[in-house]
Amino acid sequence: MPLLETQKMTKDFYKLRAVSQLDFQVERGEIVAVIGPNGSGKSTFFNCVTHIYPATAGRVYYQERDITGLPTDKIIRLGVGRTFQLIQLFLEMTVFENMLLSVQEHRGTLLSRLFTKDDSGDVERAHEILEFLYISHLKDELASNLSYGQQKLLDFGMVLMPRPELVLLDEPTSGVEMEMRGRIMDYIRELNKQGQTFVVIEHNMDVVMNLCERIIVLDYGEKIAEGRPEEIQTNQRVIDAYFGVEE
């Protein structure tokens, strides 16, 4: 059984169909890219999977369990991590607080969280991830004082903190400098070897072609192609979707 599966997922915003009858599957251990022109429904798809928006129709299964309609926070605690297209941080908190906040709900009960301190393992892991992302020197800075690229890295670091089995990344390398882009890709590969599964929305084709084993292409909310990178590169429907059809 796939780790994540959507069946006939549809999302309408009034009369606009953003995602149409989308069947999607990710197996454990894959790195899958979701690409498509602007407005093709990629982020909406992530938002429906994690129930930021309720899907108009269709079902979502994670680890063989129907998670359609579950609250977002519950889906996240089941082991799905995600980033958003627009960076979502707690700007008036420090970088380190942001890191710890991203993992605190994954342990213990509501009541125990009043009495327990941060797990020493989490603190150590937060240090390690910040170190890896070259932003450990900023750990006591407010997130609002970080540059866009640094905020992007923090966002990426936060999603990895609870070690989610499935990671949904919405444009993880946009606004990140070239060297760091390479490091992020290496890190994703390393985590993937350790068993984490990734679904990545990305516009940078170098990242998509080098990182992902399988690509799914959306256009106007519909899946128009699916396959290995070399197949997608030569797929005429994909080329038409990106560059338009000659009249």
Binding site: T50, I52, T72, R82, F84, L89, L101, E105, L110
Partner: protein, 314 residues
């Protein structure tokens, strides 16, 4: 270290203060301690979790009536005090449900309506609340031979509980609950995206805020020895709101500074006689215009300035 020394000096001053105060001034300071306890609760709900509550006087009233009515039944003050908080907290959790669906102005209107409803219940249900005449003859507690009946002794009891309330709020704010409250207040989408249940924490923010208000009410009733619905109107809720806005929302010191200004300000300004309301209002407007973060900013600047001054002398 300097911070602890500062607070140590403040507590020492508060301990010797009654020696220099007349009866009325002692009452005003005691009342300030009670109001700080309530404002601390509102600060957790609104200042940290960003959930508007304009019915804190209701929670305050529930605590006060719990104390007044159960004392009359012969219950112990020490048992009723936590119950005052718990009853108010449970009511707060129920009120918290609208907070899950509504935000900002809508939530404000809902909570105003709740305050008005509880006020009318206090006024109309005479069999329980005594109606407009309220509950009188409320006694003050004692432990063994130590009685808190006198104003001075009750002042010291309030001082101890006031300090405990501040310490409890520091504990909550620094706990994972406090961090989750702040997270929801700052960015609810991000909070949900990191597994934080806005449902649970909004309910908690209301319940915990109401708990503090209920405990404040439980202390208020024996302070006055008499309670009536007039002390729990929507306008009192507005006063609590003014306290945390003037003092500094989302800051531990905020409600303390705010309660001092709101409770003691009018007393100090009475020398201005008829003009005192105008002067008082002007001060509030000026603070809101020029100190958006509240008067706690003054304290921050002092904190920054004093070490710099000491450093420059060296």
């Amino acid at each position: 270290m300097i911070r602890w020394l500062f607070w140590g000096i403040i507590v020492a001053i508060l301990c010797v203060l009654p020696r220099f105060l007349g009866d009325y001034t002692l009452y005003v300071v005691s009342l300030t301690y009670v109001y700080v306890t309530v404002a601390i609760g509102l600060n957790l709900t609104l200042g940290y979790a960003n959930q508007v509550s304009l019915c804190h006087a209701s929670f305050f009233g529930i605590g006060a009536y719990t104390m007044g009515l159960l004392l009359a039944q012969g219950w112990s003050f020490w048992l009723i005090l936590p119950l005052s908080g718990i009853f108010a907290g449970l009511f707060g959790a129920v009120i918290g449900f609208p907070a899950l669906k509504w935000k900002d102005h809508y939530l404000a209107l809902i909570t105003i309506a709740i305050n008005i409803i509880t006020f009318f219940v206090m006024m109309q249900e005479s069999w329980l609340t005594g109606g407009p005449t309220g509950v009188s003859g409320i006694t003050r507690p004692s432990i063994g031979s130590l009685s808190f009946t006198s104003d001075i002794n009750y002042y010291y009891l309030l001082l101890v509980l006031f300090i405990l309330a501040i310490l409890a709020s520091i504990w909550i704010v620094n706990s994972k609950w406090g961090r989750a409250f702040r997270a929801i207040g700052l960015n609810e989408l991000a909070a949900r995206g990191h597994g934080i249940s806005s449902f649970n924490y909004k309910l908690l923010a209301f319940a915990v805020g109401a708990f503090f208000a209920g405990v404040g009410g439980g202390l208020f009733a024996p302070l006055l020895r008499y309670i009536s619905p007039d002390a729990f109107t929507f306008f009192i809720s507005l006063e609590f709101l003014i306290m945390i806005v003037i003092g500094g929302m989302g800051r531990i010191e905020g409600p303390i500074i705010g309660a001092i200004i709101v409770v003691m300000g009018p007393e100090v300004l009475r020398m201005a006689e008829a003009a005192y309301l105008i002067v008082y209002s002007l001060i509030l407007i000026l603070v809101m215009l020029f100190m958006r973060g509240g008067l706690v900013i003054v304290l921050d600047r002092l904190r920054e300035a004093i070490p710099a001054r000491i450093g420059s002398r060296r």
